[in-house]
């Protein structure tokens, strides 16, 4: 295990300087050191997507990402998108379409959608499904989630 050292990164627009083991999973650091609730532990293997965050705007799986990978870079979590009073348009679309049953996978769905719409503002139905294919939902909220992504894309275009 590498020795702790200072690692500076930007999380949700704020510079953070952490003295930690550089191999610590980003997910644990975000949740336990920065008290963020958005990214969730789901599998620790990069399989399910519950831990998704944006790294310089790209959706990545924080459970298998060592902290060292984020050094000097920009991390955005669910909290960094918007607030309950002023949600990000994608968060608002998920709320409007009721895109959650238990809501544990919701973080990954929203973060993946934000990244998708950044690189492809008008995705086809097949492209939406493909982009979310490795984000698992067990409650069967897929219909509402797909509707939320379509709504977010449509509102972005409007």
């Amino acid at each position: 295990m590498p020795a702790p050292r200072e690692i500076a990164l930007e999380v949700n627009g704020r510079r953070q300087v952490l003295h930690l083991d550089p191999s610590a999973p980003l997910l644990a650091v975000l949740r336990n050191d920065l008290a963020l609730n958005g990214p969730k532990y789901g599998c620790g293997l990069g399989e399910c997507g519950a831990c998704t965050v944006l790294l310089d705007g790209r959706a990545v799986r924080s459970c298998v990402l060592p902290l060292s990978r984020t050094e000097g870079r920009r991390v955005t979590t669910l909290e960094g998108l918007g607030t309950i009073e002023a949600p990000h348009p994608v968060q608002a679309a998920f709320i409007a379409e009721q895109g959650a049953q238990c809501g544990y996978c919701l973080n990954g769905m929203i973060m993946t959608t934000v990244a998708l719409l950044e690189r492809n503002p008008a995705p086809s139905e097949a492209q939406i499904r493909e982009a979310l294919a490795h984000n698992l939902c067990r409650c069967g909220t897929h219909m509402e989630i797909l509707a939320a992504v379509r709504r977010a894309a449509a509102e972005r275009a409007a």
Partner: protein, 1168 residues
């Protein structure tokens, strides 16, 4: 001062400014007599002097949205706004005990007193208002009571200074449906905004001051909860094995319960992984390779649920007998978030934050586990990842409670994905035998149904592991849900074989009703086909329930039901299309139980007769839930049921190996993904006048039969075993199709044994002692120039000194790394300038001799694990610079273990003979015919870099071979060092640019990532200037003829479809475990298409297997991190996955022949 809203029951009732509707109940066990009189009073509804309302229900929201629906009920009866109501669910200190949240009972049963209490509160407030306003002609709207004359008073005003505790009479008038304004309206869920923005909602997010992190280490009898070995299998726990982990607080052992507690979560996780625990051997009670047989052999007691008509006579007289068996596999809840809990044990009280489904039942179990009265335990229910029955949510509470008590601080315990998969009580397998017959007219003569369902209430795991409860499984009567078919057959005998669990199993969505309905609805479909009657029409002949008949007709019409008298087998190429029907009234709870919502499915499928893939393309579901409190909520539940049930029917089966659960992650237990989700249409029957019925499970009940019947329509073949995976379909269609057609980097030891070894003994014995050289005083820091030292630093990097002379996490070059060899363990030495334990006493001459001849200062021969055969080629100038650098390091006192090889290898002088045979000392001379860059590359590769030490095969005595064998590849410490010569198996040839990219960054997009023993080599090469890396690349490329360019794109494209199609277990493992990153674009990093990866194309599976087992920690962050699957996949799964990867991504290569042995061998090789 306003009344407090966030308080326990007693606090609530002891303050002014409150109206509470209450009901007396038996005291909580453990309550001191008379101590808490108020604790014997349940509160259902409380209205406060600020106009807000708290409403209390013992059930919890499992993600179904009942929090919102219950709030609607309360707001409606009380005439307040929805946002005035705060629902408190499943809190032992605040809500009534209404049993576990199971069986779709919340709306149907546990909401009844809530509704009455809200009505009671309204009646009480109206009476107060009537007294205040002097009239009984009053109207209420949004919590304000108005008289006809314009005067009004709010609930808040009425309650100022008041304390009204009113018993729930159940007699307050309820609103009529026509008066509803809130109930029956689609209402957005109250919990989603906070969940969508990262609010504190889930138990996983709970943080308590001073909280520590815990992990548990479970016994090897994964998923079993019955057997004499449970609770007494622990042999030993080596606490020292984790003593080095920083932040470790405690290792807690009670019986078979083992847990670790640390300051940081990743420290706890590491401690749980590295803790050495020894367990007794045990025998799993039954082989579950053949689940049907295991169910048949499980001891049972027959219970007849119904016996009407003379079944035996009817069967004997039947014109046609249709005996059939239907089976269902073990399945998982598979909550996306593994269970988590926070416990705080202090001063004899236990506070718990939990995602439990049954807070009061949990509290009773915890009281037993902790040997403390229930009244001293408070369970606060927070939201958890959706569960569909009993998962590990309660177990983890027991874990957290035990760990918190042990360390005296709050502890958060997070189960791992693997633990949740292995230990969650499964949805049980089920086997149903139907005997039945048709009369001469094609009508049903008799139906004889026997069901086996080994499941119970899965006692709290902590009670079993600590040995407080004997692991003797209770037999519960759970196999009878919806066991009686909805059809009016003339003779019917319905029986259940009540039996104990075989593996840990408990209630899961639909309990036994899904399999029972699979049998009922498949069998009647067979009868219709036998009789040549349309299956919907046939069902209607036997349905007597008017609501059922309405529903069946409505769904058939909406779906565009195509009448048929047999399977239609519509084909288009390899695709066969079909449509199937099924209906069910979900009957739940203790027999005879209650009916929840009615449901019917029309499923449309496509079957690929070549690959066996079944795609559900469209599901039309009809649903009659009576009055729908929140129609949007009901629709979402129907969607969820359709998708989850489709997943269960098409994909899900817990796999077992040696009687134990083997599915530990999503590759081993795949579920439906977005690309596989069908089009869904929901038809909701409008019945606002009928009582509201549970909607959490009903819509999943007809699933399997509707899909099986659609597959029959498409193929003409009946499938009676869930799930309908491609293998099952291919197997079932085969007759039809046939009819149609007619680290050991240093492996100088390889073979260094037996006779050959004997020769060396003889040769070496005569000449084998070298003289010791006098110890020198270490040179001072000022002896060498900064430039020399810097040059030496680069040489040390290129020579990879630190790779072997440093332990993971240890001080650079202080030695102590164990190199496990076939001849024994060699320990690398301390090469810092410490006089006693390092090389501080080496003069330059002694250093030179060691580097060129492999002889230590004291005259001992060094084993050629130290690559002096390569270093010997270094120039004197470079050796001096390297010496300068090593001597300029800070001396570190580090005693490393002596290398003690077994006889004859322990006789170091023998190495002199070896050197005579194979070692040619002396500096390398440049080749004047070649350019300077080539010569530099040659020097770096062959002298300093000693690449051949790994990449060139050795002869029988462990010396590098020459000629064509140079750089022909070899195996080192369980890693293959692939051929660098033209013998490379890479599908796209290595070019100079590829070599450069690989050595510089640790990965080549056209070949792969440096892992295993190569990773630290690349890390060290970071120190070298670009020119040197280019020289190495130039030299290495010169070993091969100029390769023909290969376009990688078609290779990559051709391999893309295999995982997606999921046609084999290997494909599904890949899709679930690997495809998110490999092809799925879900992770940043070098995307090395597996179709191009050298390891996948190699003649040996070693590197691929090692990467799967141990992951990749790349030399440079960002260049190919991969998690290890050692603890997540079984040997058999790794083998299956590797076989698929080979076949799919290297289709031109022969299958690897020795996979099972290779996996076992490499798993036994420790990861470095």
């Amino acid at each position: 001062m306003r009344a407090r809203r966030e308080t326990d029951r007693q606090g609530l009732l002891r303050q002014d400014g409150v109206l509470a509707i209450t009901r007396r109940r038996a005291p909580v066990p453990g309550t001191e007599p008379g101590a808490n009189e108020r604790d014997e009073e349940d509160v259902f509804v409380a209205v406060f002097d600020d106009g807000s309302v708290a409403a209390f229900n013992g059930h919890v929201d499992l993600g179904t949205g009942i929090r919102t629906a219950l709030a609607q009920i309360v707001a409606e009866e009380l005439d307040v706004r929805l946002d005035q109501v705060n629902m408190v669910l499943g809190h032992t200190g605040r809500t009534p005990d209404q049993g576990p949240t199971i069986a779709s009972e919340t709306i149907q049963i546990s909401a009844v007193p809530l509704r009455q209490a809200a009505a009671e509160a309204r009646r009480t407030l109206l009476a107060l208002a009537a007294a205040r306003l002097g009239t009984e002609a009053l109207q209420v709207s949004e919590g304000v009571v108005s008289a006809g004359d314009g005067r009004s008073v709010s609930y808040a005003e009425l309650l100022h200074g008041a304390r009204e505790v009113v018993p729930l009479s159940g007699a307050a008038p309820l609103k009529r449906v026509e008066e509803y304004r809130i109930v029956g309206q689609p209402v957005p869920r109250l919990d989603i905004p906070a969940k969508a923005t990262g609010g504190l909602v889930f138990v996983h997010d709970m943080r308590v001051p001073g909280m520590l992190h815990g992990r548990v280490v479970r016994p090897p009898y994964a998923g079993l909860d019955a057997g004499a070995f449970i609770g007494n299998s622990l042999l030993s726990v080596e606490r020292d094995s984790v003593a080095h982990i920083p932040g470790l607080v405690d290792v807690v052992v009670i019986g078979d319960f083992v847990g670790v507690v640390a300051e940081r979560e990743e420290e706890a996780a590491r401690a749980a992984r590295e803790l050495r625990v020894a367990w007794k051997a045990f025998t799993a009670p039954a082989s579950l390779d053949d689940v049907e047989r295991a169910l048949r052999e499980n001891p049972s007691t027959r219970r007849i649920l119904r016996d009407t008509g003379d079944v035996d006579a009817a069967l004997a007289g039947a014109a046609r007998r249709l005996p059939r068996s239907y089976s269902w596999p073990y399945q998982m809840h598979g909550s996306i978030g593994p269970s988590c809990a926070v416990a705080e044990w202090a001063e004899g009280r236990l506070q718990l934050w939990s995602g439990t489904q049954n807070p009061h039942m949990l509290r009773a179990a915890l009281a037993q586990l902790m040997a403390m009265p229930e009244a001293r335990i408070e369970v606060t229910r927070m939201e958890a990842a959706g569960c569909y029955g009993r998962n590990c949510a309660d177990d983890v509470c027991g874990d957290a409670a035990l760990l918190s008590r042990a360390v005296g601080r709050p502890v958060r315990v997070q189960l791992t994905r693997e633990q949740e998969h292995l230990w969650e009580p499964k949805g049980s397998a089920q086997l149903i035998d139907v005997d039945g017959g048709l009369d001469a007219a094609g009508g049903v003569a008799a139906y004889d149904f026997v069901s086996r369902y080994p499941s119970n209430d899965a006692p709290l795991l902590g009670l079993l592991l600590t040995g407080q409860v004997k692991a003797e499984p209770a037999v519960l009567q759970m196999g009878d849900r919806t066991a009686i078919p909805p059809y009016d057959y003339p003779a019917m005998r319905i029986a259940v074989e009540d039996m104990p669990p075989i593996v840990r199993a408990s209630w899961m969505r639909g309990v036994s009703s899904l399999p029972s309905t699979f049998a009922h609805e498949s069998w009647i479909d067979e009868c219709a086909a036998e009789a040549g009657v349309d299956p919907v029409e046939y069902r209607l002949r036997y349905l007597k329930d008017a609501r059922a008949i309405d529903l069946v007709k409505a769904v058939a019409e909406r779906a565009g039901w195509e009448k048929r008298t047999g399977p239609r087998m519509k084909a288009e190429g390899d695709i066969l299309r079909g449509q199937g029907f099924a209906y069910a009234l979900y009957v739940h709870s203790k027999f005879p139980g209650y009916g929840a919502a009615w449901a019917a499915w029309v499923a449309e499928v496509e079957v690929n007769r070549r690959t066996g893939e079944v795609t559900a393309t469209r599901i039309v579901t009809g649903h009659d839930a009576g009055l729908m409190i929140n129609p949007d909520g009901v629709r979402h539940q129907v969607h969820g049921n359709v998708i989850q049930a489709t997943s269960r029917v098409l994909k899900e089966r817990v796999s077992f190996e040696n009687g134990l659960v083997a599915s530990q992650e999503w590759g081993g237990y795949p579920i439906l993904d977005f690309c596989e989700v069908p089009e869904i249409e929901v038809l909701m029957m409008p019945r606002p006048e009928e009582p509201p019925l549970g909607a959490g499970e009903s819509a999943s009940v007809p699933s399997a039969a509707a899909i099986a019947n659609a597959i029959f329509d498409a193929t003409g073949v009946r499938f009676r075993r869930v799930p309908f995976t491609p293998e099952v379909i291919r197997e079932g269609l085969r007759p039809v199709m046939q009819a149609e057609a007619k680290r050991m980097r240093r492996r100088w030891f390889a073979g260094f044994g037996g006779l050959a070894g004997g020769l060396v003994v003889a040769a070496g014995a005569a000449i084998g002692w070298a003289s010791a050289m006098a110890p020198a005083k270490p040179p001072g820091a000022d002896v060498f120039s900064a430039a020399q030292i810097e040059r030496g630093r680069l040489l040390a990097a290129a020579g990879d000194c630190a790779v072997c002379h440093t332990t993971p996490g240890g001080v650079a070059n202080a030695g102590g790394l164990a190199l496990d060899t076939g001849f024994g363990r060699i320990w690398s030495t301390n090469i810092t300038p410490d006089v006693e334990t390092g090389i501080g006493a080496y003069s330059f001459a002694a250093f030179q001799r060691a580097m060129r001849q492999g002889i230590a200062r004291d005259g001992r021969h060094l084993y050629p694990a130290f690559p002096y055969t390569a270093y010997s080629k270094m120039t004197d100038e470079d050796l001096l610079a390297l010496y300068a650098y090593l001597m300029a390091q800070a001396p570190v006192r580090s005693v490393v273990p002596d290398t003690k090889l077994a006889f004859p290898y322990n006789i170091r002088p023998l190495m002199a003979g070896w050197n005579l045979l194979f070692h040619r000392p002396g500096a390398m001379e440049p080749d004047p015919a070649m350019p300077a860059e080539w010569n530099r590359g040659n020097y770096l590769v062959n002298a300093l870099g000693h690449c051949g030490a790994c990449h060139t095969p050795r002869n029988a005595l462990g010396a590098e071979r020459g000629g064509a064998a140079r750089f022909a590849g070899a195996v080192v410490e369980g890693w293959e060092a692939p051929a660098l010569s033209s013998l490379s198996r890479a599908p796209v040839p290595w070019t100079e640019a590829d070599f450069y990219s690989y050595l510089r960054t640790g990965h080549s997009p056209r070949h792969g990532v440096a892992a295993g023993s190569m990773a630290p080599v690349v890390a060290d090469l970071q120190a070298l200037p670009d020119a040197d890396i280019r020289a190495m690349a130039h030299y290495l490329a010169s070993l091969n003829p100029v390769p023909a360019e290969v376009d990688p794109a078609p290779l990559v494209a051709a391999a893309a479809m295999g995982p997606r199609q999921g046609g084999s277990e290997g494909a599904r493992l890949f899709q679930g475990a690997c495809a998110a990153c490999h092809g799925g674009d879900a992770q940043e990093g070098p995307e090395v298409a597996l179709a191009l990866n050298s390891n996948v194309h190699s003649d040996r599976p070693d590197n691929l297997l090692r990467v799967i087992l141990d992951g990749i920690r790349p030399p440079i962050p960002g260049h190919g991190e991969m998690p290890a699957f050692r603890d997540s996949l079984s040997d058999r799964q790794v083998e299956t996955l590797a076989r698929f990867i080979r076949a799919n991504f290297a289709p031109g290569r022969a299958p690897w022949g020795n996979l099972p042995q290779a996996v076992a061998r490499l798993r036994a090789t420790p990861a470095h």
